[in-house]
């Protein structure tokens, strides 16, 4: 793995540079945006970001799972999972297409 990792720190740095807010405010806004998305998803509502992708909460039924190491049966409770579907724009960018980003 040669890739680096982007974190909250770089996101708030970009906001600081591109929007011109203080470093503190920029960091708080990154947090706020993520919190708004998370809160919406926790309510079961879908979040759609054009030219990025969509996040959707799916309910999964309970089932009997198995501990792969011991082979022992373990009940898996019904649960909610988050599914991300990337938009075509994002998929194309990752494959080197339409590099300029038309939106």
């Amino acid at each position: 793995m040669t890739g680096r990792t982007l974190t909250r720190a770089q996101l708030s740095e970009s906001i600081y540079q591109q929007v011109g807010l203080s470093r503190n405010d920029s960091a708080e806004l990154v947090e706020l945006v993520l919190a708004e998305i998370a809160d919406t998803l926790c309510k079961g509502e879908m979040v759609k970001i054009s030219s990025f992708g969509s996040f959707q909460v799916r309910s999964k039924g309970g089932r009997v799972g198995r501990n792969p190491k011991t082979g022992q049966e373990v009940p898996i409770q019904p649960r909610r999972v988050l599914v991300f579907r990337a938009s075509h724009v994002l998929k194309d960018r990752i494959n080197g297409g339409s590099g300029g980003g038309g939106a």
Partner: protein, 112 residues
Amino acid sequence: MIKSELVARVAARNPSLNHREAERIVATIFDEIVAALARGDRVELRGFGAFSVKRRPSRVGRNPRTGDAVAVSQKSVPYFKTGKELRERLNATQSGVQAAPPMESAATGSSD
């Protein structure tokens, strides 16, 4: 919720921001994530989740209608893994099921 609604909520929570600034903040965040993934980098947002790029090798696919073999070239696909905290929050709100011990659910969750 769509992007414009997210912008509106961010603006509503920060009276000192005008609408255009809120728009630029939201756009900057997603643009940076896309740019990082396009470089092949990972994006890790603790508590929320992590975006990464996964390689798919080339393979021989089939036209489902005709059954013809078609070469599918290698490609990269974006992948999102929900963060631990958000995963737990999603299930905490559901009929108050807090019973499942986190350590066990983490162990079984890794199997799929």
